[in-house]
């Protein structure tokens, strides 16, 4: 028998996918499909938009209206799709480099507009497609092929960046914490306004190897041991939070949504 999720929400003839053994991207892609299934969205009304990079190959496998655009520009294309047809449920898939380096301007402005797009950032802390160069989320001192002596940049906190820019929903999860990921992605899609889920992925091939992170299982175990839900963290003593990363829902508020506001202008002239 066939994998029921694949059968219903993916283009089965395109599998197996291109990602490396142990790459976390497939886990996140599956979670998006489960969220869509759970929400009962009409496949014909879902549009998945991506830029360039490993994660951006996801839409090719997903059985919706799919748009694989230019590097960094997914949110800008998606803004056009959404504004032109607000009935479409538009989900953007972007890697850390795609979203926060070359596409950083589109991220902050989509968040500022509070346009009803759901952005899922597949954050593997590296440029994978081009072979392991450091990205804006590569931790300081870690290595990439273009940071052979250790990265001297300070990394972005993408979930916080989105909040600072005005996102009305922002959350973080990891490829290990899949049940939580499912819930957060579902909530992000349901959210009316700009939503971002930073899904921490793993790149065993480049990031892992370059930084001696061990096996795929070691990298997943690291996610398991080092991320704490923000609600749990609130109750933990300081020493237990030391060196841990927060995940969970960071913001979830309702503010006027861009396409709604535009519809009001149109309505004004229809009277």
């Amino acid at each position: 028998m066939n994998h029921p999720l694949v059968e219903n929400y993916f283009r089965m003839d395109k599998f197996p996918h291109i990602w490396c053994p142990g790459c976390g991207h497939g886990i996140i892609m599956a979670s998006i499909a489960r969220a869509i299934e759970k929400l009962g969205l009409d496949k014909d009304k879902v549009c998945i938009v991506s830029g360039i990079g490993c994660s951006s190959r996801a839409p090719g496998y997903m059985d919706f209206n799919t748009l694989h655009t230019t590097h960094g520009r997914a949110l800008a294309f998606a803004t056009g799709v959404k504004l032109a047809n607000p009935d479409l449920e538009v989900i953007v898939i972007a890697g850390d480099g795609d979203l926060s380096a070359i596409g950083g301007n589109h991220l902050i402005h989509s968040a500022r507009r509070n346009i009803n797009l759901t952005t899922i950032c597949f954050n593997n802390n590296i440029y994978g497609m081009t072979g392991g160069q450091y990205s804006p989320t590569t931790p300081t001192n870690e290595k990439g092929t273009t940071a052979p002596y250790g990265n001297i940049d300070k990394p972005f906190d993408i979930a916080k960046l989105a909040i600072g820019a005005g996102a009305t929903y922002s959350a973080r999860t990891t490829a290990y914490h899949v049940p939580q990921m499912d819930k957060l992605i579902e909530a992000a899609i349901k959210h009316k306004g700009f939503s971002l889920v930073e899904a921490i992925s793993i790149c065993p091939t480049y990031y892992g190897r370059k930084n001696k992170k061990g096996s795929v299982v070691d990298m997943m175990t690291w996610l398991k041991d080092n991320f704490v839900d923000v609600k749990v963290a609130e109750k933990l003593p300081q020493e237990k939070k030391e060196g841990k990363f927060l995940m969970g829902e960071f913001i979830n508020i309702i503010e006027p949504e861009y396409t709604d506001q535009y519809a009001k202008i149109i309505e004004h002239f229809n009277k």
């Binding site: 599998f15 990602w19 142990g22 976390g24 599956a30 065993p204 096996s215 795929v216």
Partner: protein, 69 residues
């Protein structure tokens, strides 16, 4: 999808499995293992609790709960 857990069993699509070992390592009942091709195999079907975590964490859609055939 089948209704209750009783009707479900683990299916493995070896052709899609890339042998990363995630499902094996994080299976709460340790019922999975590698076969001679380095791909996942069911070692102990009786003790599988059908929690579905292998399916959720499989990056390759190669292991899943489905109806018994």
């Amino acid at each position: 999808m089948a209704g209750s857990k009783e009707d479900l069993t683990i299916h493995i699509n070896e052709a899609w499995c890339k042998g990363c070992g995630i499902c094996i390592a994080f299976c709460p009942k340790k019922v999975l293992g590698f076969n001679e091709n380095g791909k996942v195999m069911m070692l102990d079907r009786d003790n599988c609790i059908k929690c579905g975590m292998c399916q959720m964490r499989c990056p390759d859609f190669a292991i899943f709960l489905g109806g018994k055939e």
